[in-house]
């Protein structure tokens, strides 16, 4: 296996660990705002994963997904934060 292949594997493993940590926080909560923060971090992990894929394969097919992720993450967290109530879990 080439050096580049090993580097891509290591980076992918780091992203997997990051996504698992963030998912645990999103499931555990305890409040809805913790989940929003965790899902925002998950969007960052996803953007990094798509960037890694594009660099590793030298293929720009999936790059528009980055734009979509950036926008959807923003709209999602803002709308949840806007309607967060005192006892929302």
């Amino acid at each position: 296996m080439t050096v580049g292949g090993v580097a891509v594997l290591v980076a992918g493993a780091a992203l997997l660990v990051a996504a698992l940590c963030v998912l645990v926080r999103a499931v555990v909560g305890p409040t809805v705002l913790d989940r929003v923060v965790a899902l925002d971090a998950l969007v960052v992990v996803l953007v990094a994963a798509f960037g890694l894929e594009a660099v590793a394969r030298r293929d720009a097919t999936l790059l528009p997904i980055l734009v979509v992720l950036a926008l959807v993450g923003f709209v999602g967290s803002v709308s949840v934060a806007r309607f967060a109530a005192k006892d929302s879990r």
Partner: protein
């Protein structure tokens, strides 16, 4: 090896370094989101890679692919993130404060508090703080008041 080929190799190495750093930032942020104690600290940890991490990954993608279309997409992603991430983090922080999800004991300075009654710090208020008289007893608490939004 021509100058162009050397430049290409250098760009590839720089791209790998940039994407690697961005992924490292995402990992650190994920650990912070998992380990830190309350909403505001988790927000603090999660907001760093939303700006710097995505910029690094985007620069890496641009350096690796080097076509005008990719550069346009990458610049669009970076601009969108830099504009929207602080707004989203700010709104989540405000919502956390106003719905009472912030642990006052963990705060060093609370600039949103009205500084009345038991919340007034010992030894008087810091310079520049003003005590606001609220006719409504609830108005000083987070989550209430007419300025919500």
């Amino acid at each position: 090896m021509s100058v162009g080929e050397v430049a290409g190799v250098v760009a590839d190495v720089l791209a790998a370094v940039c994407v690697g750093l961005g992924i490292l930032l995402a990992l650190v942020a994920a650990l912070g989101v998992l380990r830190l104690p309350d909403v505001l600290t988790r927000l603090h940890a999660a907001a760093k890679p939303q700006a710097l991490g995505i910029v690094l990954v985007a620069v890496g993608v641009g350096l690796a692919l080097r076509t005008p279309v990719v550069l346009g997409v990458v610049v669009l992603v970076v601009v969108l993130q830099l504009v929207t991430a602080p707004v989203a983090a700010h709104m989540v922080g405000r919502a956390a404060y106003r719905t009472g999800k912030v642990d006052r004991d963990l705060l060093l300075v609370d600039e949103l508090s009205r500084l009345r009654g038991p919340e007034e710090p010992e030894g008087g208020l810091p310079d520049g703080c003003v005590v606001v008289d609220e006719p409504d007893g609830d108005a000083g608490r987070p989550g209430r008041g007419a300025d919500r939004g």
